[in-house]
């Protein structure tokens, strides 16, 4: 379980980005994290990963966020970044995918086996030896997902997984994410994607949690969404 208790954070003094946030995410839950631009979605994820130091208490599976626990906590969380270019730092897809597993103690052979499995399950075996800088946006996003899945995270964190993708690739990512087992936390403005992928939705606004409930309730609340610069998912509008 990921637990935030009274977490506050600001980049600059006097301008809190998150204030007094508390929530819990259980193993196996699929949670959508929504909110307008600048609401603090990415910041929240970085705090969860221990990339930013926040006030309050953050625990992951009982491990308190601290320097000693950092490695173990990060092992449980896999982040697919907003910008795949920053995530794919090795020159080829294969090297990128084995990077995490080998750093966490697998041999190269074991890691290669893991890589083959993951690439196969995502249907991108043909990209194994491709150079990252020659991939299209959609291919790169799939490769980034593969690199994270290869680490076998307990909780999968995705920051805007469908941004900058064409409709076909967007659909591909949505279907991929839907099919993944395990806990998922997805930050996005793409409410249609959240509708498809999440059971529960947390809405951030002005540094606080404005709503936290079943997707079916939050995403149907037209007034609430509009007050937060969002619209009903398209799938729910035609009625």
């Amino acid at each position: 379980m990921i637990r935030f208790e009274n977490v506050s954070f600001s980049y600059e003094k006097g301008r809190p980005v998150l204030s007094d946030i508390s929530f819990e995410i259980k193993e196996g839950e699929a949670v959508g994290l929504i909110g307008a631009n600048g609401a603090g979605k990415s910041t929240l994820m970085k705090i969860m990963l221990g990339l930013l130091p926040a006030e309050g208490s953050v625990t992951v599976d009982g491990l308190q966020m601290s320097k000693e626990n950092l490695r173990e906590i990060r092992r449980k969380l896999g982040l697919v970044m907003q910008d795949s270019d920053d995530q794919m730092f090795m020159p080829t897809v294969f090297e990128d995918v084995i990077f995490g597993p080998v750093n966490y103690g697998l041999t190269r052979e074991e890691a290669e086996k893991r890589a083959d499995e993951v690439l196969g399950s995502l249907g991108i075996t043909h990209l194994k030896h491709a150079y990252n800088h020659k991939l299209s946006g959609g291919e790169k996003r799939m490769a980034a997902i593969a690199a994270v899945l290869a680490m076998d995270p307990v909780y999968l964190l995705m920051d805007e997984p469908t941004s900058a993708l064409d409709p076909a690739n967007r659909r591909l990512i949505i279907n991929t994410v839907r099919a993944l087992p395990g806990a998922k936390i997805i930050a996005s403005h793409d409410l249609d994607m959240i509708w498809d992928c999440a059971d529960r939705v947390i809405l951030l606004s002005g540094g606080r949690i404005a709503a936290d409930g079943p997707a079916d309730t939050v995403l149907r609340d037209k007034a609430l969404l509009e007050a937060n610069r969002m619209e009903l998912p398209l799938g729910l509008q035609r009625r």
Binding site: K46, L49, L51, R71, R74, R75, L77, G78, L79, M81, D83, D85, D86, Q87, F89, M90, P91, T92, E95, I98, F99, G100, V102, N103, Y104, R108, A111, Y131, H133, A147, V148, M151
Partner: protein
């Protein structure tokens, strides 16, 4: 400015070169690193005027170019800026030292000219040797090799991040110059009045990206070690390579092959 985009592409091409297969690529990174360092030290140790003795040192890069299948022209093209800088180092020697060293027929060659040429040769040789190392060995493997010989973690980390940072920065320059050009049609380069803000922006943007990149590495378990780097297997071939190279360097350094050959001809 297509130049900058070309630079970005060329950096990426280094990664591709480093992943090809050739006998040189197959050598252990540590072996290549050791030989490269030795080569540079030997080359730099030649005297200012020992042009004849120095020249045979060209054998090593020449041999390695042909063995690795990497084109010396490609090397010269990628290193053009550095080559110019290295060659510029000795440019004033001929002016400072005009004393005649030797006469070839009617051509008088001064000490200054000889030392200039020697300096240039040294520069070109050392750059070529470093290029060969970089073009046949992925950066992570070089870093792994450095860690094996106990170079401090911090220094190796810095080397790796600098390498990554340079490509991020070149990318950002490309994006920003394109954005600038689109809004300043018909203008050559970037107007001097915009340089300050341009550089400031560049620094901020590339530092942000570098931070994200480093975060991405940390999140996937990076701790300054390189178990993921392709280190090949060290074998007898590596030992032979190091040994033969070192013996050759020592031979070329102690026996003046240039003069010997010259003596045979005259």
């Amino acid at each position: 400015m297509a130049d900058i985009e070309r630079a970005a592409r060329e950096l990426r091409e280094m990664d591709e070169l480093a992943r090809q297969g050739s006998p040189v690529h197959a050598l252990h990174p540590l072996a290549k690193l050791a030989v490269t360092v030795a080569y540079i030290l030997f080359t730099l140790s030649f005297g200012r005027y020992s042009i004849g003795a120095l020249f045979p040192m060209i054998l090593y890069p020449a041999f390695m170019f042909s063995l690795s299948g990497i084109s010396p022209l490609d090397c010269a093209r990628k290193l053009r800026v550095m080559l110019v800088m290295v060659c510029a180092v000795g440019l004033f020697d001929p002016l400072l030292n005009r004393q005649i060293m030797l006469s070839l027929g009617s051509l008088n060659v001064s000490y200054g000219t000889v030392s200039m040429i020697t300096l240039m040769l040294k520069g070109v040789f050392c750059l070529s040797a470093s290029f060969i190392l970089a073009a046949t060995t992925p950066i992570d493997s070089i870093c792994g090799a450095l860690r094996m010989i106990r170079v401090p973690d911090l220094i190796v980390r810095l080397l790796l991040l600098t390498f990554r940072y340079v490509s991020v920065m070149v990318d950002e320059v490309a994006v920003m110059t394109t954005a600038y050009k689109l809004r300043a049609p018909g203008q050559k380069g970037i107007h001097i009045s915009a340089w300050g803000s341009f550089l400031g922006q560049l620094l901020l943007r590339s530092m942000d990206r570098a931070q994200d990149l480093y975060d991405a590495m940390l999140l996937r378990g990076f701790r300054g070690e390189f178990p993921y780097a392709d280190m090949k297997k060290a074998g007898a071939g590596d030992a032979v390579f190091v040994l033969v190279c070192l013996l050759c360097f020592i031979f070329l350094r102690t026996v003046n092959v240039g003069d010997m050959v010259g003596g045979l001809i005259v």
